[in-house]
């Protein structure tokens, strides 16, 4: 028998995703593409996604950039502060490989996967706002669906 409470939760969660983004040392390009998602043209809020920058009430964490020395310990702190269920999405090439910064002499230490678990990544330098939007929309329901039932 299906759990009715779980069904309601699934329905509600699929239309209410709170997004928080953290820039751990990028060139700002991906940053402003995430911001551009807010624009009425892409209208991120019509999908029930609300972008603000508070990790304590976020469901989805967008990680931008290769990891700089200051973030090595703090990124994990931010991840711990997000309440369950949560998911991290890497935006751009930097969190995946370090992009142009992963060369000799760099101060960064990519990839981000060393510090927090990444569920999905959107490659691109920078990716388009539509790609970011579709990534959030496709990964969030997968993680949040039947979360309580799957919990051990």
């Amino acid at each position: 028998m299906r759990n009715i409470l779980q069904e309601i939760k699934n329905a509600v969660r699929s239309r209410s995703i709170h997004v928080s983004y953290v820039d751990v040392g990028s060139c700002n390009g991906c940053d402003i593409e995430v911001l551009a998602c807010l624009a009425p043209r892409y209208d991120i809020e019509q999908y029930g996604i609300y972008v603000h920058n508070n990790p304590r009430e976020a469901d989805v964490l967008l990680v931008i950039g290769s990891v700089t020395p200051q973030w090595v310990d703090k990124l994990r702190d931010i991840w711990d502060k997000i309440p369950e269920p949560k998911v991290a999405v890497a935006i751009g090439n930097c969190p995946i490989s370090g992009c142009v910064y992963a060369r000799r002499g760099t101060l960064t230490s990519p990839p981000v996967e060393k510090y927090i678990p990444i569920a999905a990544s959107v490659p691109g330098c920078p990716p388009r706002p539509t790609e970011i939007l579709s990534a959030i929309l496709s990964v969030a329901p997968l993680i949040f669906k039947d979360y309580e039932e799957r919990k051990p």
Binding site: P69, Q70, D73, K74, D77, D80, L107
Partner: protein, 127 residues
């Protein structure tokens, strides 16, 4: 869970000062003050925040152009330069040094007075 996170910034501040232009500026300032580069770097890292360190070069340039125009004693000592442009010395401390030096310059030769004044500025920076 730790609630206060203060990281040791000295390594990162030193990284800022290793850029070519910053290094040249630090050397120029050290030469002007007559002290070693390493000591000045330590004083800079202790006294200024990271944004000041990044901006050291422009402030030094603007200081050379606009600071202490007119008064020869103030110009030699760098009264405005080291208090308002690059704030390494307190304004009060610099004021005392300046007035002492001008008072001393009436009895002793000017060079000797300025040498003493610079000595005191170095002490104030390293303290």
């Amino acid at each position: 869970m730790k609630y206060l996170y203060e990281k040791d910034l000295r390594q990162m501040k030193y990284n800022i000062l290793t850029s070519t232009r910053h290094d040249e500026t630090v050397r120029a300032v050290a030469q002007r003050l007559g002290m070693s580069d390493a000591k000045l770097r330590r004083a800079l890292i202790q006294k200024l925040d990271m944004s000041f360190l990044e901006n050291l070069e422009s402030r030094w340039q603007m200081g050379q152009k606009h600071a202490d125009n007119g008064d020869p004693v103030a110009e030699e000592l760098g009264c405005e330069l080291f208090t308002r442009f690059i704030p390494l010395v307190d304004t009060e401390a610099m004021q005392t040094i300046y007035s002492d030096t001008t008072a001393m310059a009436q009895n002793t030769p000017l060079d000797e007075a300025i040498r003493r004044g610079k000595e005191r500025i170095r002490e104030a920076i390293l303290s």
